[in-house]
């Protein structure tokens, strides 16, 4: 019974997605940084940071306020989210609209760890590219969670 219901829901979802793709208007999503993202997380290695010499103060003066911080201050996280573009298929009907699509996002995250004296002890730079799904109906919508959290070590 449960399996039959699940199959029905999946079938309806697939049908809705197929209808949107076939009947909807494709709207391209332009490339660019997400509105809430910072833009000063470099892709190349940070040659101005020297483990054992650069301080927390130096890092903050160069990169600004961090996106995240360890509760004990032992690391700072800097991250960015850059959309490489995508497409949303939108279906207008009866004064309302529904849409579904996908967007490719590049996440960058830099974790700078410090020792007890506030001197850099490690640098961990991660970059991840992923496709994210977008669905919306009327005034509500949802986006799949980011494949990399930029404000924490998770």
């Amino acid at each position: 019974m449960v399996a039959r219901t699940a199959r029905g829901v999946l079938r309806c979802g697939a049908l809705l997605a197929a209808t949107l793709v076939l009947a909807g208007c494709p709207i391209p999503l332009p490339a660019g940084y997400e509105a809430s993202s910072r833009e000063n997380v470099p892709a190349e290695p940070l040659d101005w940071i020297t483990v054992g010499a650069t301080t927390r103060e130096d890092v903050l003066l160069k990169l600004g306020e961090a996106d995240g911080e360890a509760p004990d201050g032992s690391w700072l996280a800097y991250g960015s989210a850059y959309s490489k573009g995508g497409v949303v298929f939108v279906l207008f009907a009866g004064g309302s609209a529904a849409g579904a699509g996908s967007e490719r996002i590049e996440y960058r995250r830099l974790i700078v760890s410090f020792d007890d004296r506030g001197v850099v002890s490690a640098i961990d730079a991660v970059s991840r590219d992923c496709w994210e799904a977008i669905v919306g109906m009327g005034s509500s919508g949802a986006q799949s969670p980011p494949c990399l959290k930029v404000d924490s070590r998770e």
Binding site: Y33, A35, S36, S37, R38, E39, N40, R56, E57, L60, L61, K62, L63, G64, E65, A66, E69, G73, G118
Partner: protein
């Protein structure tokens, strides 16, 4: 009479001017918001009095940051919210143990 401007068009023009004037935005920015900041001179107290609560603090409050944006009028403070929406600059102020500003920088966190 030819060329005479009647009362109605004049009133309509005045109304249009008022409506168009309402569209013009007043800049938020202040040209002198950050001019008081001087290394080895500015105190923590002066910073709090001029800029209010910082958006973040580090090393037990020794380092303060403020979120800023800029328009035609100059820099203005941006309220703290998740992420950096509308934030263009991060002002970082590092004080010594006596509360005197030692180093500062205005970091552009978004492309101009």
């Amino acid at each position: 009479m030819g060329g005479e401007v009647t009362g109605l068009p004049r009133r309509a023009s005045a109304l249009i001017l008022v409506l168009l004037g309402a569209c013009a935005s007043t800049p938020f920015g202040q040209p002198d918001l950050l001019t008081f900041i001087q290394d080895d001179q500015t105190t923590r107290e002066q910073v709090f009095l001029a800029l209010g609560e910082p958006s973040a603090t580090y090393e037990n409050g020794r380092i303060l940051t403020f979120r800023l944006a800029r328009d035609e009028g100059g820099y203005f403070l941006v309220e703290k919210a998740p992420g950096f929406r509308s934030v263009k600059y991060s002002l970082v102020l590092a004080f010594d143990d006596e509360g005197l500003l030692r180093r500062h920088s205005l970091v552009a966190i978004k492309a101009p």
